[in-house]
């Protein structure tokens, strides 16, 4: 049985209550990307300031559930100051984390651990895969970031 504590880890609730990097970037060079989850009504705007291949600043506005809010907050903390290439690698690793492994869903095994060790705080979102309907809440921020980087 999926346990609620797996989903709502303390660090997730912390990011939800005290989101990082809230706000807008108004500089003309900033990229603004909208993300939208029609099923639950979550909305997210990601502002990126990319200079010489480095994400020098990132800000977020929008609203959503704790998972989508925490995931976007953690995402912003994870990629701020990183190169675009590093950010893309993180997106890929995160997406892999969110992939439902039949075996782990059955409780027959766990998602691959190798990646998790390198992911810091983000690993706390691992519990989401046990609640498949919430995966799209967690991935909204990352898909929106990915889109934004495409425009950078």
């Amino acid at each position: 049985m999926a346990n609620l504590d797996d989903l709502y880890r303390e660090i997730i609730l912390d990011h939800y209550r005290t989101p990082r990097n809230r706000g807008e970037l108004t500089s003309p060079s900033a990229i603004r990307t909208e993300g939208f989850n029609p099923l639950c009504g979550d909305e997210l705007v990601v502002y990126l300031d990319v200079q010489d291949g480095v994400i020098v600043d990132i800000k977020l506005t929008g609203h959503g559930c704790s998972i989508s809010q925490a995931s976007s907050s953690m995402m912003s903390a994870a990629v701020k100051g990183k190169t675009v290439a590093e950010a893309r690698a993180t997106i890929d690793r995160f997406k892999q984390l969110m992939t439902v492994h039949e075996s782990s869903l059955d409780g027959q095994g766990e998602a691959p651990v190798a990646d998790i060790r390198t992911m810091g705080e983000l690993a706390a979102l691992q519990g989401v895969v046990k609640f498949p309907v919430r995966i799209k809440c967690a991935t909204l921020a990352w898909n929106t970031l990915s889109q934004g980087l495409d425009e950078a």
């Binding site: 639950c40 559930c65 998972i67």
Partner: protein, 411 residues
Amino acid sequence: MSSYSARRVRGDTPLLGRVINGRPITYLDSASSTLPPRPVIEAMTRYYELRHANVHRGVYQTAVEATDVYEGARAATARFINAPQGLDEIVFTKNTTESFNLLAKSWGAANLTAGDVVLVTEMEHHANIVPWFQLREQTGIEVRFVPVTDDFRLDLSDLDRLLDGVKLFSFTAASNVLGTRNPVKELTRIAHDHGALVAVDAAQSVGHQPTDVVDLDVDFFCFSAHKMLGPTGLGVLWTRAAILESMPPFLGGGGMIADVRVDGYVPASGPTRFEAGTPPIAETAGLSAAIVYLEGLGLANVARHEDELTSDALKRLANEFDGRVRVIGPAENVDRGGVLSLDVDGVHPHDVAQVLDQFGVCVRPGHHCAKPLMRRFKLAATARASFGPYSLTTDTDVLLEALGSAVTMFG
């Protein structure tokens, strides 16, 4: 009937025997879909085991029986809502949504032209909005909205002006978000005085209170079997026989024609003109059983029972949680049904529903297909609890316990 017992209905409903996360299920999502009792499920099983055949045109025994099942359901439905001309006025559709599309795309397209007004309300379900928007794109009609007041009622202060130029006033009998029940009979009288026809979205009313389309004097009536203890895949459009006969066909195909030549076709008359293809047949067996079951309970008894549950729940929600749980809908239990949309301070509805699931409590988070209404109240979503004929105050007990946990968790 004084013999109504919600506890017995519960016993008749197999799904309520389920255990979720170690707790007996607390089903509070009847506004989304009701749970069918055993006689409804068995009617469909029996249909498939004994009688299934395609309807109409058949001469052999089971085809005759299947046709009797199908036409018998039409007759039962007509009786259930007191359709004045009986089964000639009952069109079977897929769901309430298809009923409204049929109304808009057949009657609407034939009777409305650029500048004509369809009046709906800000508390409508998308099923009674989007088909009119589609017709607007096609014909240039105007779609006008009756606003909703801060206390969750239709704002009727300006109704006379709003009804100006209106050909059809299409509104919900009961809001699936607010619980608000609208004064159908009174609104119909006023609309008729302005020369408008009236369509009613009865999705949230037919399974919860008695219905009499003659008394209400409405012109169109749309509802779904799955919201009145019946099966999925079946809806109803009722309209007066005279209007029905004047409506052009909707979908084309077998069953809805009198003749087809390579150079054209002649539509059939009567409800079958709107029932192209093999209809949901087993589903009508389920609907008949649901009607018989509801009639056995007595809709007035169901209404009274759900009313008591609603009064109790409203009171307890107001008294607990120090105001952190707000009901989006009339706070007093007057002219409202058993739908409780909750806004929990600091906890997103999605998270509310997730925590409640841990207690086996089924509530629905989201915009409930009523985005204009959500915008009106500056909400992205609510967590909605709603009652059915099988609900008990113990359901409210568990709801409150689980809500308490959600509030604490997100403290």
